[in-house]
Symmetry: D2
Subunit: 348 residues, 4 copies
């Protein structure tokens, strides 16, 4: 921490600040300039709020210097983290990985149709919500356990990994047998009890950035999971709230190179929530990969116009296949590969 | 819902939109202008997303007309809601009600000292956190059950009502015997499982606006609680995130008259979190009451410089007493009263 | 400026940074900690961008310490600035000063009616736009010079000072004979050529905060005027753009105590633009004064429903008179006075 | 415009609204539902503010339906606009066009070196500022006319078109002989006097989005230029202000597909201002092209570390050349071409 004193700070005020800094565990180095005195606190006290110092008499400004996250920081693993899944799929490696599927699991037919389509186009994960928190109490709330079972069955049948959203500590145990990756939604990015618990399981977690969260806060939330011993964390940019209302959120594509700079964790983008409009999803998916993301999370529905939730932002299967073709052109520009389409095969 | 067609929309496109509107339960009235056709959907379908319609061919714009909340809306109770507490205190009535105390319960001495001070100055509620979610996993996390017991003991001794934050469904039962009002924090404003559960208890709930929540979303979250049958909801403005960084948040004082216009629920302001700086709290507390709020939630600590959390935004007892004196001048400007200071009495 | 090096920065990287700091005029004090090295640059180089340093190899963070404004800073005039007008009115003194009138000058009858009403209720300034920049090229653009003449005539007849918006350097000379105070609108807050020119005139300037400007940027824009030798600058908070759309802007009431803390310049609030809705204006005007502002800028129209611009945010005369009565109750809470109503007198 | 009445609106209130709508030029179609009455105003009144209607008694909501811009709207020219330059370069055609060069013209050597580098890598335009508005009055303010002459001389010598920023009406005539395209900066996006004047010249204008401007406001500002008869307008996304502070602005990449949907005008991206950090520029430039932009505006400096302005966001020549190679891989994914590198040739 650096504390810059006001130009007219008295020696007594300076001494008071020095004492407070020493008290919480800093070694203090003092620089006395012609105009103002600057106090550099060296060390890593367990806990302090630099804003407390801004309110002391004679202080002009207090600035925290060391980043508040350690395990999530780039220097902890400069070579980068690769999250490995049982079937060999790797997120954070050379290949761009695409996770796709409907917003909600609605029925066996629907989820199977979705899985078949996205698998054929080159997706590696099937996404789908079993528990659906909705901003209105009068909306569809999800299929629950039955949805989990359908995801697993269809994932196994098609050879896709399964990712779904966990909303409450009580759901963790319920989900464990059925899924390959937990997804923490934007609204739960700072549900610290949930994060702490996910730190104790041994399954990867995809952590979405909150709608009003800074990148630093996203990394601090990841720190909660990492500090519990679960190092398999994938970050996800999904749009932040700004004054622009044409799109549902403003997708902060620059979060991708920023996270690559600050952290070793892989990051994917979610252009479906990032835009909220089907006609903008492909453009933003291309932008995400061109910016260097490790993958995508995309809503695809066999019949978006009949979807019970998020239909407006779900791609038609043909749109998704076309997007995958475009991504195959872009990936080499950032030195990456991406899966080829596969002939649809399975029947259930 | 209103759907405005593009100028060049074909009759076929218009028919498709009409059919979709009828399908989900609207009666459709069509207005054919020289330039464009407008379709007014009348009725109240249980569930629809107007954005789905914006993506249909030929549609220029789709606008939801009726507000998505019903029970929280002004017309549900035009006379306004008064939340009544066992000892006769009313929030939403003529008297401005102040809730004050430390961020966290730290010890018996600390919470008792805080309670004595705020009671003497005219507060009606003792606030204090027993479970503390923190953005860093390395910070103090609260006293838990022991904190709840101290709050109750000290509340009873001083004649103050007790309000504390609930963060998880599992804490509701634990808290019920000890508190007079649940507080839902900004991060949980859209924790719908928690809200739904709080709808089933019969204790008042103070619901804070999320850091990136619109006023409409705040009312929709209140709707979750109301729709469960718990009508004793108090809203709270506590600052939103903007690009201005000098203050911790930007306190949206205008939310107070807006809520008064849109809803029947009482609303209080939290200038401690709204600003994050002790030297700005009194100014914003005065502004809150001058704007017509029903009360305040303020952090006061017997020794803010030693507080384990939020010290920088906690008032010293003498500052709080002075603020209460200022509020006693302002309240009549909005036709309100406020409690007089009382001689400190009890000893524990 | 403080430069914090990365934990693994090499001695060579540190030396490069030191050399660059010395090169631009800093004396450098080095603090070598167990974990990282911190370089404190002391001195006041004429011009540098601390972000340049963040991109040097081995640098973790660079932080500017001294505020970039000097003349606008609190320490330049700790006793505060009072802007004095020819007729004895003072902005920044003990009395709260209210400036009121229509958005646009529309006709002699309209501006005279407005002036008579606001004068009677206790206003000291008549506001009104003669040149109107509008976001649509198809809207009313103002009466121009004729409007200026009407403002002066009516101001003289009623004993009100005149304030109007200047939008272009070419208008300064035109306006000088007719007005008592220039108003710089939010869109021109960073029109540096205009600000520089206003620094050379000897009439007060009211400078509005831009819709996306930080408080620091507002003070830096004031610095442009002050550095030209014009010290009579009044700041104005008028709402910033956020994601909340119910109000036209989000009025940042906390800017008032923040400016009082950082600067010696007086600050007023404009709740008309701050909210954009007539039914919210009075609540926010009260909040502004309760927060400690030196005055208000308010739109009042003799017949708002017929106004050619901003009718929706203009008060009816009776609403304004009622508001002034409320403010007379509030002002003593912040140790201020405010003008009493006067019997309407003049006829033109 | 649509006006939705409150559920309990009286017939008298409804009639008042109908009369006001007719008065300003609407034909009114009334839909009387079981719950509420909806009034659809058909027609295109020259000027009205739908917010006026929201304040009438009995009104629940008023919604403007037709977009306030006409000439900038997609339906005005569904085939899209191509801006053609004298040497055959087209912006908005099949080829992605890159404009590059330093923030400021500093010297003949500097601008010539920059031009040579960007030409060799495939740029078609040389950018550079001659007049520099700076947020601090104590910073470098540009070379002025001499800078314009250098741009022209070097542009001619290298075969690059010249684009530079115009900040004031008085500069238009001065610039006309020297440049190929005017650039309007973010701070001037709503300088309507300047826009109107640029509508009367016959040179293309690149219009940057304001830091707090919605996409609709950007199009409305373009309308000012178009309505003067100048149809050669190129839009530019350059980042908006959000709460995220790691990057200088948040580049809204989604503005690119949104503008393509709403308008016929070409749009380019400026990742230099969009991020403010050299190490993020290439990622965002790739994202911009992948999202479908017609081109880029990029700061490149022969020696960024010595740049007098914006050095931190300027690319080194070698970085720019590498970026162009990456863009050549991406362009085909969106069906576009981009210029090949050329052997550097000229000497001055």
């Amino acid at each position: 921490m650096i504390v810059a004193m006001q130009e007219k700070a008295t020696e007594e005020q300076i001494q008071t600040v020095v004492e407070r800094m020493v008290e919480i565990g800093f070694n203090v180095h003092r620089t006395t300039g012609a105009v103002q005195t600057i106090l550099a606190g060296v060390g890593t006290p367990a806990q302090f709020d630099h804003k407390d110092f801004e309110l002391l008499p004679g202080v002009a400004e207090a600035v925290r210097i060391s980043s508040p996250y350690k395990l999530a920081g780039h220097s902890f693993r400069p070579e980068g983290t690769i999250v490995r899944f049982p079937n060999g799929v790797e997120v954070g490696g050379n290949e761009v990985v695409v996770m796709a599927g409907p917003c909600s699991v609605e029925s066996r037919d629907q989820i199977f149709a979705a899985a078949t389509h996205v698998k054929a186009a080159g997706a590696k994960f099937l996404r789908g919500g079993a528990f659906k928190p909705r901003s209105s109490p009068y909306s569809f709330q999800g299929m629950g356990l039955e949805g989990l079972k359908l995801l697993r069955e269809v994932g196994d049948a098609t050879g896709l990994l399964v990712i779904t959203e966990v909303m409450d500590i009580s759901q963790i145990g319920l989900m464990l047998p059925y899924i390959d990756c937990f997804q923490v939604g934007a609204r739960n990015m700072q549900n610290f009890n949930l994060l702490r618990e996910l730190g104790t399981v041994r399954k990867p977690v995809l952590l979405k950035r909150g709608i009003a969260a800074t990148i630093e806060e996203l990394l601090l939330s990841a720190e909660y999971i990492l500090s519990g011993g679960n190092y398999d964390v994938i970050l996800c940019e999904r749009g932040i709230r700004t004054y622009e209302t044409y799109t549902r959120n403003t997708m902060d594509v620059s979060a991708i190179p920023v996270v690559k700079h600050l952290s070793h964790l892989p990051i994917v983008g979610d252009p479906s929530h990032g835009t909220g409009r089907r006609d903008m999803v492909s453009a933003m998916a291309r932008a995400t990969i061109a910016a260097g993301a490790d993958g995508l999370l995309i809503e695809v529905h066999p019949n978006p116009e009949k979807a019970v939730s998020d239909g407006a932002q779900s791609l038609f299967p043909a749109q998704f296949a076309k997007l995958m073709d475009e991504l195959r052109i872009i990936a080499p520009a950032v030195g990456r590969t991406i899966a080829q389409p596969v002939a649809a095969a399975v029947a259930v």
